[in-house]
Symmetry: C2
Subunit: 131 residues, 2 copies
């Protein structure tokens, strides 16, 4: 199962892009607002995977609260799957908790769904449906 | 620049392998103790990158302190580079802090070196020299 991207919570997208540019260059596409999740994101290619920088659009969004309580840093780990619903059902069947019971629209027009961090030892795992 | 692996700090390697097995299968090789870093690690393949599970071998190792203070979860993000020393020097030249000024032996017989989390917005970045 391939890593689709590593999500990193940042306070300010522009200064964060400056920080990562020497390693990863320019984002693949212009930054995008994902209203449902209260973030503005940019994807930087890193081999076959990506680094997603997530800037909260409001302090009371999930990522806003994450940055306020834990500071900037790695936020989630996303795997590419053929079917998000099946991946989430698999977590539930194995006794794990999920944030989303079924997929929902995410960045880049993809269907996505999150397991609960308790299901993977403190790691917030996202499933992203292959386009 | 390719993501070599994502390092995840865990309390117990065996139960953590059970947790990740449904997604990622078996480790590529038997778990390995990296004495210099006070960890026992296992690498799980995920496409062209890997998930590294790190179990502290003592509570006062860096990863042991990480787990004690923040709990299990994502610990570092490793990029594959042609030359670790040059990658670390690049961080320093751009005004960033590093943990290692030059490379040192790491897991799987590779040369590795860590930047300081402040250099990449709270993300602990490791550079791994391509074999």
């Amino acid at each position: 199962m391939r890593v689709d991207h590593v999500g990193i919570a940042v306070g300010d997208l522009a200064s964060s892009l400056d920080r990562w540019r020497p390693l990863l260059g320019e984002p693949e596409s212009p930054p995008e607002v994902v209203s449902a999740q209260g973030v503005r994101v940019a994807f930087l290619r890193a081999g076959e995977t990506h680094i997603e920088l997530l800037e909260p659009t409001s302090p009371d969004s999930p990522v806003g609260r994450f940055v306020a309580s834990r500071g900037e840093g790695t936020h989630h780990l996303a795997f590419r799957v053929p079917n998000v619903d099946a991946a989430l059902s698999g977590v539930i069947e194995r006794g794990g908790r999920v944030v989303d019971r079924v997929g929902r629209p995410g960045a880049r027009g993809r269907r996505v769904g999150f397991a609960h961090p308790s299901a993977f030892g403190g790691v917030l795992v996202e499933f992203v449906e292959a386009p």
